[in-house]
């Protein structure tokens, strides 16, 4: 048994590929836990950032600066009465949030947080990812149907139409990125000859292709990669039903769209699924266009010195967060009422600082680096999501469809064709 467990440690591959069930399970646990924590953090960050966009403070009561608010929310949602409308189709109503949740989390099986930090590496990774993530449409439709009510039904119809149509544009963009893995990338940039000429659908393979071609696909065949990325970046917002494409749950029109009738834990599963899906599609974008887990300038700035410099980033990031926490401690009102909060925030700062210090240790920092860069890139996308939500009004349904079918899809096809031509010609 112990041998079985330790045997994996030597192998330089993902547990799935190594066929090691134990480590695969451990990874699954870690990823599931990590994503759940990330969703909670995202929840807090969204409320905080959105509040500051809107000259508010956001959550301030539960814990220092509302840090414990997601936990309080989770407890509230779990203890809330679970209402199932009497006219609802009970079984479908019950299973719909689970489908969404499973679909959003199953995607993480192939997300490469690092060359070996993935649960497994499927050779059809990207296909698997697109396929599974689009399963959540099913959950949405089921939720809307099972509620047996007008608003959820309209929400579900909108949502299914929207997700399906944007998937097409998204697919075009993805295909053009996949195409790039097989193309030599000579020509305009004249660098990188490392590719074999055969493409790959494996998520890890795609990232490695970017390293070998010495260019993020974002900049490859400029501006083709850029446009494809742009299409994906728009389509993924629509795909996850977020502002400005949040019609299915358009609060001012459909109260809450397909989950109007849901409450408590079931509702929180929808939210968990939505945020997990947001992180998942952002991971696809990072993997396909932004060099995955590789640090910036992985090819340009090489050598031991640069490696050292970049490997210090994770530690410094956490130290910076710790400093922000301590600034918060200093600025906390001196009234005794705030003593507990001040101590709590200071404790949080110390924890962050300690994590930062641990990340400076050479064995840790070498292993954590790729995960750090991947998460940092995804976090950038998460911030964009919040930013969109604070800035944009909502599209109308016909306009949304117009953007999807008449703008994004033709451009996507054009980019795909041009990518193919450029790849052959250059």
């Amino acid at each position: 048994m112990l041998d079985y467990i330790t045997s994996y440690l030597g192998s330089n591959t993902t547990p799935g590929q190594a066929g090691n069930v134990f480590w695969a399970l451990v990874y699954i646990m870690v990823v599931f836990g990590g994503i759940s924590v990330a969703v909670m953090a995202m929840n807090w960050l969204e409320r905080k950032a959105l509040a500051h966009f809107q000259i508010r403070l956001g959550p301030m009561r539960v814990g220092p600066h509302g840090l414990l608010q997601p936990i309080a929310d989770a407890i509230k949602l779990m203890t809330k009465e679970d209402i199932i409308p009497s006219e609802a189709d009970k079984f479908v109503f019950w299973i719909a949030p689970l489908i969404i949740l499973c679909a959003s989390f199953a995607v993480y099986i192939v997300v490469p947080f690092g060359p070996t930090h993935a649960i497994t590496d499927l050779n059809i990774g990207i296909l698997f990812m697109l396929g599974v993530s689009s399963l959540s449409v099913l959950g949405v439709v089921m939720a809307g149907w099972a509620s047996n009510s007008h608003y959820p039904l309209i929400g579900a119809l909108r949502s299914s139409a929207q997700m399906v149509s944007y998937e097409v544009a998204m697919g075009m963009a993805v295909v053009s990125a996949i195409l790039m893995t097989s193309l030599h990338g000579l020509g305009a940039y004249g660098v990188g000859t490392g590719t074999s000429g055969t493409g790959t659908l494996s998520m890890i393979g795609i990232v490695q292709a970017q390293y070998e071609q010495q260019v993020w696909f974002l900049f490859k065949f400029f501006p083709l990669g850029f446009i494809a990325f742009g299409i994906f970046a728009i389509a993924m917002v629509a795909e996850t039903n977020r502002a400005p494409f949040d019609l299915p749950e358009a609060e001012s029109e459909l109260t809450a769209g397909f989950h109007t009738e849901y409450s408590g834990l079931r509702w929180s599963l929808f939210m968990l699924g939505e945020y997990a899906a947001m992180i998942a599609v952002s991971s696809i974008a990072v993997t396909l266009w932004l060099g995955g887990w590789y640090r910036p300038f992985a090819n340009a700035l090489t050598g031991d010195t640069w490696d050292l410099v970049f490997s210090l980033f994770p530690g410094f990031t956490f130290l910076a967060l710790a400093v922000i926490a301590f600034v918060g401690v200093v600025r906390m009102p001196k009234h005794p009422y705030f003593r507990v909060q001040t101590i709590g925030l200071a404790g949080f700062g110390i924890v962050l600082g300690l994590i930062g210090l641990i990340l400076f240790a050479p064995p840790v920092r070498d292993r954590i680096q790729d995960i750090f860069w991947f998460v940092a890139k995804v976090a950038g996308f998460m911030y964009l999501y919040i930013w969109y939500r604070a800035t944009f009004p909502r599209y109308r349904f016909d306009q949304l469809m117009k953007v999807g079918w008449k703008v994004l899809l033709p451009i996507g096809i054009g980019v795909l064709i041009l990518t193919a031509i450029l790849g052959v010609v250059l």
């Binding site: 959105l50 966009f53 809107q54 000259i55 508010r56 007008h150 608003y151 039904l153 309209i154 119809l157 909108r158 502002a243 400005p244 949040d246 019609l247 358009a250 609060e251 001012s252 029109e253 459909l254 109260t255 939500r389 604070a390 800035t391 944009f392 009004p393 909502r394 599209y395 109308r396 349904f397 016909d398 306009q399």
Partner: protein, 399 residues
């Protein structure tokens, strides 16, 4: 008998139909028991719905997302203001009018006080008139800011709401300092104003006038050039000039359809004839035009306030009013330009201390009638946009 016809805005050349057909009214057949099988879907928007600005209930007949017809069900906030008036003295009724359009309480009070003053044949002193203009225009600004925030929120832009509320707060602070109340101010009395301006009133107002123009630019920055905002508002809820007049809509909704008519200019009341300001109008009568008209109106209000503060005369603030008000027998109709449109008071006096009849001509009530013609053939999302752009306050619709 010739019938007045209204051109259908969706097919202007093809078909004309009876005007009455377009006033919010639905023939509801069988209740849709098996709505999943039918093509037509009847849904209830409200009375508890985030976008109906209170307790308005709109019954929508839909074909998919397309609106086939609407019917407004109102009256959820009916408090019988007109009946109350018949059982109160003229002075006692004054605070009640604030509760109708509660976001523009000062305007309501102004209309009522001026109507009763006319009936009594007295006139408020010039200083009182200037104070009235300043407060009423500040209130117009506050009302438009509230409209903008909620309208943008309905269309999906969350952020302007908080910006407008931040700036509206400054106006409410001035109200609070002037008369102690923020929303239902009861700022004016029959015959003038009860309170002299507080120490530093002019300074506060001037400070506000300097503070707010960049903020209005800020709202515009967020919305006016925003592509999605343009797509959501241009050519949405179009109402032509002829329809607007036939339906009796007033205020910014009428002006956006191209009718240059503002009671402040047409039949100046209070001290409005002393000031120099423009009446912004639109061309197309769509939601975007109504938006730009109101934005421009905010700027014009600032202009009026600035002139009023600079020219405000000294003197008494209260005319000689009898302790017991007994207007001579007769009737009066007096209307003012409230932020939402023409707000009229029709008062019948029988010579006693209590009005025999008070009729309020509420702008929101009449404007709401235009909802149906504006949304037929449009999508559900447009209904929201149009309800927002009509700028209704249900307290005033229902009274």
């Amino acid at each position: 008998m010739t019938e007045h016809t209204i051109t259908d805005p969706k097919t202007p050349d093809a078909k004309t139909s009876k005007a009455t057909k377009y006033v919010s009214h639905l023939e509801l057949g069988e209740p849709d028991k098996t709505f999943l099988d039918s093509n037509e879907l009847i849904i209830n928007m409200g009375p508890q719905h985030p976008a109906t600005h209170g307790v308005l209930r709109v019954i929508l007949k839909l074909d998919g997302e397309q609106v086939l017809g609407t019917e407004c069900v109102i009256g959820y906030l009916h408090r019988g203001v007109e009946k109350i008036a018949e059982n109160r003295t003229y002075t006692m009724f004054n605070p009640y009018v604030d509760r109708m359009d509660y976001v523009a309480a000062v305007s309501n009070g102004l209309g009522y006080c001026e109507a009763v003053e006319k009936l009594l044949n007295i006139e408020a002193p010039p200083r009182a008139k200037y104070i009235r203009v300043i407060l009423t225009e500040l209130n117009r600004l506050a009302s438009h800011q509230l409209w903008l925030g909620t309208h943008a929120l309905d269309i999906g832009a969350m952020t302007p709401l908080f910006y407008t509320f931040r700036d509206r707060e400054e106006i409410l602070k001035i109200f609070e300092k002037y008369c102690g109340a923020r929303l239902t101010t009861h700022a004016f009395r029959i015959g003038g104003c009860q309170y002299e301006t507080y120490e530093g009133f002019e300074r506060d107002v001037i400070k506000f006038l300097d503070f707010v123009p960049p903020k209005i630019d800020e709202y515009e920055e967020l919305l006016t050039t925003n592509r999605i905002w343009l797509e959501r508002t241009k050519n949405v809820g179009v109402i032509s000039k002829a329809d607007a007049i036939a339906l009796g809509v007033t205020g910014p909704v009428l002006r956006a359809s191209g009718v240059k008519w503002d009671l402040r200019k047409a039949q100046p009341y209070a001290a409005y004839s002393d000031f120099d300001f423009e009446i912004p109008i639109g061309q197309n009568g769509d939601t975007y035009d109504r938006y730009s008209v109101r934005m421009e109106e905010m700027r014009q209000s600032l202009r009026i306030i600035r002139q009023a503060v600079e020219k405000i005369p000294e003197g008494p603030i209260m005319a000689k009013v009898p302790k017991v008000m007994k207007p001579p027998v007769g009737e009066i109709y007096h209307s003012i330009e409230a932020p939402k449109g023409e707000l009229g008071y029709f008062i019948v006096s029988d010579g006693s201390t209590q009005p025999y009849r008070v009729r309020v001509r509420p702008p929101s009530f009449v404007n709401l009638q235009a909802l149906d013609i504006m949304v037929r053939g449009a999508l559900v999302a447009d209904v929201i946009a149009v309800i927002g752009t009509l700028d209704i306050v249900l307290g005033e619709v229902d009274r």
